[in-house]
Symmetry: C2
Subunit: 218 residues, 2 copies
């Protein structure tokens, strides 16, 4: 398995297409990959590994002073950070963004919810369990992540009990933002079998034409 | 001092104008108040105090299942949560939102940055110091907030060293989102005198026509 559209692995790549800097195992970076694939965009994917300090080099800090992936650079040099801002830019004008003004605001609501009430618990629990192998000094933090993360999953499951997607009647960036870490929440110790509506929604997303799975073997 | 447009203090208010549920001392709620005032909108402001459990009642959870203020309800009953989604809805089509597609994405970038890399440190330090009076069991968390919050302020100060506002050449929702907790960061132990460009930007925001200050005496 490989990232289909990746044609360069360094900071230069092809000058005429946009570059996305990220690590596919990161849910935040996966959002950008999935959105780009669903939209059939052309891009260079440049893998940077945070755990190896690759997001703290002077070269990368010139792209994103906050030292985080994902980040995007357009062919003319303009740069953008924050996963949910990048996917909003990439999907502008597409079927992944509701045209109705209120539904658009609801989409943003779920994207901000994701960054504030979901990622800090569900992604962090996954990091502690899946990447760090449960160091004792992070046990208390992990336990808090379980409580808060399960509350978030309950809220999501309840919301999905009466509708197929988070906003309106079709998939939007709200689903992509929430799918990224939810579908691998088991890697953080969350039991998705307790959330049947989330499980159905995950299958619905995975059955979308052009869906691209998170990759684990690069 | 009072909230100029607040004409109701219960869950009912006037049926024909939108309701905003919030607590003005909360920076997240203040964003909504400031945006509504800058735009000259009509609304009922209903004060709910999180510390008194007022955001965990069945009545409020029916408005925002996540149990957080701010939340907004339109006259027709549609409801919206998340401060940055609410201000995006309120300001749609106004001068507070860039028309250029890339500048719009940059605005979102700073709003997501605010919720992920700013609020969790700068607002939390303020809460621990200003509202909780520094309980010993939160000292370690407070110290982490100082390190991370100062890094965020340094990044903001550097960004503002070459431009008057976060995006483009005029005030946008990115400024409102970041202003809310930054201008009271001293209440969380941050020394703003170290960040002269942030100080100039705060004065610039405060000098905006129709600017409304955070209220502390309600």
């Amino acid at each position: 398995m490989q990232i289909s559209r990746s044609v360069a692995r360094d900071f230069f790549g092809a000058a005429h297409i946009m570059k996305i800097y990220g690590h596919i195992k990161s849910g935040n970076c996966y959002k950008v990959y999935l959105t780009a694939e669903l939209l059939g965009l052309r891009y260079d994917w440049i893998t940077l590994d945070n755990s190896k300090g690759e997001t703290q080099t002077a070269k990368f800090l010139a792209i994103n002073p906050n030292g985080k992936v994902p980040a995007m650079v357009l062919p003319d040099g303009r740069r953008l950070a924050e996963s949910n801002a990048i996917i909003a830019f990439l999907a502008d004008g597409s079927h992944l963004i509701p045209q109705d003004r209120f539904e658009y605001a609801q989409m943003l609501q779920w994207m901000f919810f994701e960054q504030y009430s979901h990622e800090p618990y569900i992604a962090v629990a996954r990091f502690i369990q899946f990447y760090q192998n449960m160091p004792a000094e992070r046990q208390a933090e992990y336990d808090t992540c379980q409580i808060k993360g399960n509350a978030t999953l309950r809220l999501m499951d309840h919301h999905l009990s009466t509708r197929p997607y988070f906003v309106g009647t079709s998939m939007s960036l709200a689903d992509i933002a929430l799918f990224a870490y939810t579908h691998v929440a088991d890697q953080g110790g969350f039991d998705l079998s307790q959330f049947p509506h989330i499980q159905d929604w995950i299958k619905r997303i995975q059955a979308t034409p052009k869906f691209a799975p998170m990759l684990f073997d690069d």
